[in-house]
Subunit: 371 residues, 2 copies
Amino acid sequence: MDDTRFGLARHVTLPGPLRLDGGALLSPVEIAYETYGTLNADRSNAILICHALTGDQHVASRHPVTGKPGWWERMVGPGKPVDPARHFIICSNVLGSCMGSSGPATVNPATGAPWGMSFPVITIRDMVRAQAMLLDHLGIDTLAAVVGGSMGGMQTLSWPATFPDRVRAVVIIASTARHTAQNIAFHEVGRQAVMADPKWRGGAYYEEADPPSAGLAVARMAAHITYLSEAGLTAKFGRRLQARDAKSFGFDADFQIESYLRHQGISFVDRFDANSYLYITRAMDYFDLAEEHGGHLANAFRATKARFCLVSFDTDWLYPTAESRAIVHALNAAGAPVSFVELSSPFGHDAFLLEAPELNRVVDGFLRAGA
Amino acid sequence: MDDTRFGLARHVTLPGPLRLDGGALLSPVEIAYETYGTLNADRSNAILICHALTGDQHVASRHPVTGKPGWWERMVGPGKPVDPARHFIICSNVLGSCMGSSGPATVNPATGAPWGMSFPVITIRDMVRAQAMLLDHLGIDTLAAVVGGSMGGMQTLSWPATFPDRVRAVVIIASTARHTAQNIAFHEVGRQAVMADPKWRGGAYYEEADPPSAGLAVARMAAHITYLSEAGLTAKFGRRLQARDAKSFGFDADFQIESYLRHQGISFVDRFDANSYLYITRAMDYFDLAEEHGGHLANAFRATKARFCLVSFDTDWLYPTAESRAIVHALNAAGAPVSFVELSSPFGHDAFLLEAPELNRVVDGFLRAGA
């Protein structure tokens, strides 16, 4: 395919305007994305992959900053459930993020300077609307499937509710239809950590090239704990000491878990923008799909003919199985076809990103059933 | 009793030296404490109350900074399980804290300046040793009981292991015999939040009267989430908005849970020292009673004749019931008399501080059984 719209490391500036849930009109709308595989003749094999909070469009290609493999090569790639040999795969950076799509770090054409905190607050549905604009640009009317985990699952859930006729199958992994008070609380701690850093400067730190890394690292550390299970942490680290035989009786990282967490925080700030962290956590906290549909989650699914597949993990305490079950009940009430499985894993919420043969079998089977 | 050693708002400077687990000799040892009730003729009615991470000696008297009632007046007071009409009650500020006992904010006599981070790192056992020095000062050989929740429970657990002959009954509420990787992880986030605040200045912020409040507030917010259950948060706050009818599409505290957490953080910094927070969380993370006894928790209890009472709460995910059960198994292995109950509460770890009639009945019955 010589079409320059397709391939890795794509970027498009669409005129919009995109009317956001908050009321603002965003124009232009920049979208960074990648495609893998070939769109078939009747344009029926497109699968959209939706990424999580700190994810990006590099679902199955090397990350330009970290040099690491794509974040979901276990799910997307040759011989995987989402396979470029059979599917035309799209993954775009969400609105508000920092890998090329419109967000606080991109330039506001009205001022010629980065938006910073004047970027409008966005929602999960706004992210989905931007993805639909990208589909229009790519000439794709209907998706064979949308697939995502965590915040990606919020987007896939929002897809059939927002564009009931544009998606035939929906895969929601380790996700939820609304953020709970505890979910919001953890995000609020992270936001306060960022905003407490004097280098945050009300979000106007781009000129100085001296971002609020310390605050963002603390935010990442707090969030990271919620991605792992207590049992998984005990198995992986327990109370083992880090490169020493005895406690130091000081404040260095004595324990391996401390060293690990500090590393998670420090390495995160090299690849992520602090303001984007604020905007995307806000979008997740605002997410309540039932609220958008008169308080009844089932109403979100009444207009769609899509098939649904949900997967939860038994040790995920961020979005526990009960949250998936509530979605399944709503889908049942709406008469939508749905399959649901809780998988066993020691790895908590992070399980969806790790080696999980059962997860792959479930997704593969579900996608093939509709082919 | 005209003895000036007894009463509210007491403070004693003991020469020591106190040999700490880290190897340092602390001298002098300052201890701020309170006593309630009257020591009987044979000095057999003394009960030591051990406080938690951010607690203090004001167990049943008005807090001098906040003006609030004592932190455990539900458990300690006239007609309560620990009753000044029957018991001689002692509560002292733990070593490392900031309410008058030796800690990073007190003056190092060798330099004439506050210790700051040159204060030696202390352990739970060091706190208990300081309490024993206070008992010597008060002329009390043996405690009728030690009673504490959370970190207070770690101290009560350490008491019979450290001074097997000086305590007859031990009450351990919502506590654990060792910090898990997840417990350490949450504390490490808090410490990093404090130390990331430029106002922390390596702990030397006392002269400027400009402490690292922002970092400490974030630390408190993160910790506070672990004190509450998910179900309790949902019941108390859910996704309800704070003093507004609709989302602001900004970064103010839209949700009640956000407003509540911010308040918890802000009000905490008025009454607590950031360095003390570092030292005490470190002591908790270092706590592993089995490790101090050859890796076998039962060994900690072989020398004592004390009776034990353990209480856990079913929604406490900071120190879940399984941690109490592990202690009970060790006590059984050591042949110690022990009663154990898991109580039901929606309030998570915080339940031990709240109205809990069942908790009071359990503690009252246990204390009376030994009288």
